[in-house]
């Protein structure tokens, strides 16, 4: 696991190089969440709204909205597709994102309209790690995880 300023950056995920990580699943869907440095900037999340199942989103449109006392933001989709699953646990406990942003606190799963080009606008591997380290420096982030 790559770590920078206390922030975890798994090299096997894909990233929009801003707030979002993406994991391609075996069934062709994409799981979406927010990164460790993004949850650190947001602080303890108090509200999560995730688009309903079967809703179609264009690339760049929000699949979810997150709020803390000091940060409000959208979670943009990396590609056009239909929401096929959402993490209901986050609606009751949005701060799970502060605890386990890459695991239990995934946000939504989408089925891309065009599977072949679904990952055209996200980056992975060493290139992503370097870009996210620059992002962490630009935002001056030091990551800390909540324990519950």
């Amino acid at each position: 696991m790559n770590e920078f300023h206390g922030c975890e950056i798994p090299a096997d995920l894909f990233y929009d190089l801003d707030y979002v990580w993406v994991r391609p699943e075996q069934d062709g869907t994409l799981t979406i969440g927010v990164t460790d440095p993004a949850q650190a900037i947001a602080g303890r999340l108090q509200y999560a709204r995730i688009k309903k199942l079967d809703v179609h989103v264009d690339a760049g449109r929000h699949v979810a909205t997150l709020e803390s006392s000091k940060w409000v933001g959208g979670v943009p989709s990396p590609c056009a597709g239909v929401i096929v699953a959402r993490n209901e646990a986050l609606l009751a406990k949005p701060h799970l994102i502060n605890v386990d942003p890459y695991g239990d606190a995934w946000i939504a799963r989408i089925k891309p309209d065009d599977a072949q080009h679904a990952l055209d606008h996200v980056t992975t591997g060493a290139e992503a790690v370097v870009a996210l380290e620059a992002w962490i420096q630009r935002y001056d982030v030091q990551c800390m995880r909540c324990s519950d």
Binding site: D18, Y19, I41, R49, G60, R61, H62, T65, E67, K70, W71, V72, G73, G74, P76, R138, Y139, D140
Partner: protein, 156 residues
């Protein structure tokens, strides 16, 4: 003559009034009026206010503050990016006459604008007004010309 700090703060207030008027129209089921008010709000904030900030004020602040200024402007730019998407979604909710979706988006936009405007008014504008008055004056002129170009009848 008003400082850039006063000009931008007054523009926030003017835009808040437009947003709330649009929200009131949605609440009353006046969908055409709501669409018109939200369009005026969107023009004012996206095509004028954000343009001034992104082309003049953010670069001026970054130049003056160096690396320390980048963290603030990065968060403010992300806020603009999110707001542009939320405004599109609000317009779609109005077109679909979906007051439940509009109310959820309005809650988010109000919260985002409150935090965003507060950062700009307490950190960005005072620094630019004090340290870079020429850039501030240029920003004020640009805002006025862009407001006129959007033909917003609410602009004197």
């Amino acid at each position: 003559m008003e400082s850039i700090e006063q000009i931008m703060r007054h523009d926030h207030e003017r835009l808040d009034v437009l947003l709330e008027a649009g929200a009131k129209a949605v609440h009353e089921g006046l969908w055409h009026e709501a669409a018109d008010l939200l369009q005026r709000f969107r023009h004012g904030i996206v095509d004028a206010h954000m343009v001034v900030e992104e082309t003049l004020l953010f670069p001026a602040f970054e130049t003056q503050q160096g690396h320390a200024g980048l963290a603030l402007t990065a968060i403010l730019r992300k806020g603009h990016q999110d707001l542009r998407v939320f405004f599109l979604e609000m317009a779609e909710a109005i077109a679909a006459r979906d007051d439940e979706e509009f109310a959820a988006l309005l809650r988010t936009v109000r919260a985002l604008l409150k935090q965003h405007d507060s950062k700009e008014e307490s950190e960005l504008y005072p620094q630019v007004a004090a340290a870079m008055p020429e850039q501030g004056r240029a920003a004020g002129k640009l805002l006025l010309s862009l407001q006129r170009a959007t033909a917003d009848p609410g602009v004197r």
